[in-house]
């Protein structure tokens, strides 16, 4: 009997609990405070440090709290002086950098030449294991602080090519001439760092301090970050709103639903499943514009079946067998544009983009495709696989479509099969270890809007992202010439010549340029995406 009483009591208690749970169900989250933009965000992969952030979510924050020597114009992508007063050189190898005075970090300390030199030395040093340290590889003395050999230890702490002249001047000596080097300096890895970063690193990581238009108010990792306008910001692009609240969404579908319900102001990645409805749901508040991203399919050109000169014909044929138009419109609802060169439209014609450079080889023509593949000796082993990770980005759909397109062109249902790899990490391992024998997905999101960035890291001999292990003396020579050219037009001409070598050798097939997609609420205006498809938060006005 006693036990029974206890049971009744337990039931009563749980019921009471249920009632309380229901009772406290008032209105949910507090709505955004006045003048603050509520935007979607994803959890950054690494701690936020300029030279240790290589993905878009962390980069978004760096773009708000840091300003470097240069900044890429949100509309044109052109590298314009930001903190740089002047960057001068006579030989494309020795540069003198003068910075503007009056700039401060949000902890009040001034930004000096040493803020740059110390930050760059930190980013380059192997001891700090920074993911993006390769950005400093052009500076003389990089090898000493970051030896290439796996087991070596650094023989110096600072790069010999960097010298502080006075508070507002420093000099940079590069390993070799690189005429476009100043234009790379808009990338976040080149941001200056305050003393606080070096003095108390752990505290800084919990709440990074920069010199940008916003400062971090609160940061709860994997949940949200609140940024407020930095009142003493010295740059021209002061924030037009009071602040930005970044909210982590685990699924961008939820962010989209939240935008529809009026709980969120800006989403910068419309989920694939909503692309079809976005125009109808959001009208003018849906943004779909080119970003500096190109998707390609690479070939392991050093592996069996791909080494002969004729195999270039097979690759060109495969390129012609893929119906890019059909896939971009049916699967991507025109948020991708069929690619006709190896760069991106965001560069503009002056920056090196050339529509149609790839010519007929990037045009769908199934008959010619079949012919070319036969001339090149047919597919190695009679069939080919197309590999990609399938954990993100709806890669499975386009892979199926591309393979179907190839199979139709070749009248052979077994010619192309997809090889889905479960995780991105596994996929990257298979590529770096050279375990993929067929075609595989490769993509490139630009670090800076320069044609050099679309070619050198991907196709130069032994370059860091040369997944196909392509090596062409002709291509390398043209890239070197372009880098040491003294005027920009000449450099771009050389880069284009190098690109034409790629069309002949086809180590990779250009598939499509990717657009950035975004949507915003009626509460905000002046929302636009920069060439990296990141919203220009400073310009957003809240009504």
């Amino acid at each position: 009997m006693r036990a029974a009483t206890r049971l009744t009591w337990a039931i009563a208690a749980t019921t009471a609990l249920a009632l309380t749970a229901t009772a406290c169900g008032g209105n949910g989250t507090a709505s955004g405070s006045a003048g603050v933009v509520r935007a979607s965000w994803g959890d950054p992969q690494h701690p936020l440090e300029p030279a240790n952030t290589n993905e878009v979510q962390g980069g978004k924050v760096l773009d708000m709290i840091f300003r470097g020597l240069k900044r890429y114009d949100p509309e044109t992508g052109e590298a314009k002086d930001e903190m740089a007063e002047s960057i001068e050189t006579t030989d494309q190898q020795n540069f003198t950098v003068k910075i503007k005075s009056g700039w401060t970090f949000s902890d009040g300390t001034p930004v000096t030449a040493a803020s740059y030199v110390d930050a760059w030395n930190y980013g380059a040093n192997l001891k700090n294991a920074q993911i993006s340290s390769y950005f400093f590889q052009f500076i003389e003395g990089y090898d000493a602080v970051h030896p290439a050999d796996e087991n070596a230890t650094p023989s110096a702490d600072t790069m010999s090519g960097l010298k502080v002249v006075d508070d507002h001047t420093f000099t940079v000596k590069l390993n070799e001439p690189f005429s476009l080097w100043p234009e790379t300096l808009g990338y976040a890895a080149y941001s200056p760092l305050p003393r606080a970063f070096f003095d108390d690193h752990a505290t800084w990581l919990n709440k990074p301090i920069g010199n940008g238009p916003y400062k971090i108010d609160t940061y709860t990792k994997s949940q949200s970050m609140k940024l407020v306008k930095y009142e003493e910001y010295a740059g021209p692009d002061k924030a037009q709103n009071e602040g930005v609240e970044l909210r982590v969404y685990t699924d961008n579908n939820t962010a989209y639903t939240d935008l529809q319900a009026g709980n969120l102001d800006v989403i910068d990645d419309v989920p694939a499943s909503q692309l079809k409805n976005a125009q109808k749901d959001l009208g003018d508040r849906y943004i779909n514009q080119p970003a500096g991203i190109i998707q390609t399919v690479a070939f392991p050109v050093t592996q069996d079946g791909w080494t002969s000169p004729e195999s270039a014909k097979v690759r060109q044929g495969l390129s012609m067998a893929i119906d890019r138009q059909e896939i971009t419109s049916k699967i991507y609802f025109d948020t991708r544009t069929p690619a006709t060169d190896f760069t991106s439209p965001v560069l503009g014609d002056a920056g090196g983009y050339q529509e149609g450079l790839c010519g007929e080889y990037c045009t769908y023509d199934p008959e010619r495709a079949k012919q070319l593949i036969e001339e090149g000796g047919g597919l190695p082993g009679g069939k080919i696989t197309l590999s990609s990770n399938v954990d993100t980005g709806s890669h499975r759909q386009w892979m199926d479509a591309a393979c179907n397109s190839i199979n139709n062109a070749l009248d052979d249902t077994g010619a192309c099969t997809v090889n889905p790899v479960p995780t991105f990490a596994d996929f990257r391992n298979q590529i770096t270890e050279g375990r993929i024998s067929g075609m595989f997905r490769s993509g490139w999101q630009m670090d800076y809007p320069l044609i050099q960035n679309f070619l050198q890291p991907l196709y130069y001999t032994n370059a860091s992202s040369n997944d196909s292990r392509y090596s062409s003396p002709e291509f390398d020579r043209l890239i070197n010439e372009a880098n040491s050219a003294s005027d920009e037009a000449e450099a771009i001409g050389k880069f284009r010549d190098a690109e034409k070598v790629l069309v002949q050798d086809m180590p990779a097939i250009p598939l499509w340029y990717q657009n950035g997609t975004a949507g915003y609420s009626t509460r905000v205006s002046d929302v636009k995406l920069n060439p990296f498809s990141v919203p220009v938060y400073t310009d957003i006005k809240v009504s």
């Binding site: 036990a3 029974a4 049971l7 009744t8 749980t14 019921t15 249920a18 309380t20 749970a21 406290c24 169900g25 008032g26 949910g28 989250t29 959890d43 950054p44 992969q45 690494h46 701690p47 290589n54 993905e55 192997l126 294991a129 920074q130 993911i131 340290s133 390769y134 970051h146 290439a148 050999d149 796996e150 087991n151 990581l205 709860t220 990792k221 994997s222 949940q223 949200s224 982590v248 685990t250 699924d251 579908n253 939820t254 962010a255 639903t257 939240d258 529809q260 319900a261 709980n263 995780t423 991105f424 990490a425 990257r428 391992n429 770096t432 490139w444 890291p457 860091s464 992202s465 997944d467």
Partner: protein
């Protein structure tokens, strides 16, 4: 009773070691996570080596496991790749998931048993058949369909709730997600209770109780219900663990930053400290919930004794 509890707690040790080792090996077998940190670039060999050393990834798996377990015993669950302590992640994620689990559990317990008893007592009537049909429908429809539909109608069309739960994860916001999470289990609890009640109404002791002239309410609650709850309690015990961990789908839909979210991120980024750390705690919860269930048997049915 005391000795039984001690024995059970001791039995947990091998289960615990086995489970964690399996998880560890599985995460390890996924391959080298460092490559993914470099995005579309080939990892810089020297930096990669440095990172591997930092996370002990350069050591053989058994050594990694021993190091890891050693650290766990001293309360150090390691660091996630984003530089945050796994214990901090857990400190935020578990309370939210626990609240979600509690909301779901209360809903399925109260509604499930209530519906189960009513249908069990009114077998074959209209109410019984309609509840049976409803449970079938609920079991058949995947959670994400129910979740996104509810989210769209209640959140966007009617505006009654916020489609996404705030990082604080207050009880009030968790009611709808809790309902969605509870629905499938609710269906099972209803059916289990119904069967059990239906069986027991014919039992001798019920006839005796009725013959003694006890009030109907008393017969139902004290005699019928108490004896019918054993299978339900067994199910609920196992369900607690599932609700805590299996909320991945619900947590994703409603943007609840709980255990499911952290586990999902951990697996996607092959972050073994996060995954193993969270699973270790989940295994403990599961084991304790089951112990609790076994002890509850004795409360429900005094004939079951543990000594």
């Amino acid at each position: 009773m005391g000795r039984y509890v001690v024995r059970r707690l001791l039995q947990m040790i091998p289960v615990f070691i086995g489970a964690t080792f399996l998880i560890f090996v599985m995460v390890y077998a996924l391959g080298d996570p460092v490559a993914a940190l470099f995005g579309d670039r080939a990892p810089d060999p020297a930096t990669a080596r440095q990172l591997r050393a930092e996370f002990h990834l350069d050591k053989p798996v058994w050594q990694q496991y021993l190091l890891y377990m050693g650290n766990i015993l001293s309360g150090d669950f390691g660091t996630a790749f984003n530089g945050e302590k796994v214990t901090d992640l857990m400190g935020r994620a578990f309370p939210i998931s626990f609240r979600l689990m509690l909301t779901a559990l209360v809903i399925e317990l109260v509604l499930g048993i209530l519906l189960g008893v009513i249908t069990g007592l009114r077998r074959g009537r209209v109410f019984d058949t309609s509840v049976l049909m409803a449970t079938l429908v609920v079991i058949a429809i995947p959670t994400f369909v129910l979740g996104t539909t509810a989210q769209f109608f209640l959140g966007v069309q009617l505006g009654w709730i916020n489609p996404a739960v705030s990082p604080e994860g207050r009880f009030g916001e968790l009611i709808v997600p809790g309902c969605i999470l509870a629905l499938v289990s609710l269906a099972y609890v209803t059916r289990l209770t119904r069967t059990s009640v239906a069986e027991n109404t014919r039992a001798d002791y019920i006839r005796t109780a009725v013959a003694k002239g006890l009030p109907r309410r008393r017969v139902t609650v004290r005699h019928l219900l108490r004896n019918s709850l054993i299978p339900v309690v067994t199910y609920l015990g196992a369900d607690i663990g599932t609700l805590m961990a299996g909320a991945i789908v619900t947590e994703r839909i409603f943007n609840i930053q709980g255990v499911g979210f952290q586990l999902y991120q951990g697996i996607l980024r092959q972050n073994s400290p996060t995954v193993v750390g969270f699973v270790v705690v989940l295994v403990l919860i599961f084991l304790l919930a089951n112990l609790l269930v076994d002890l509850l048997y004795a409360v429900l049915d005094p004939r079951i004794r543990y000594d």
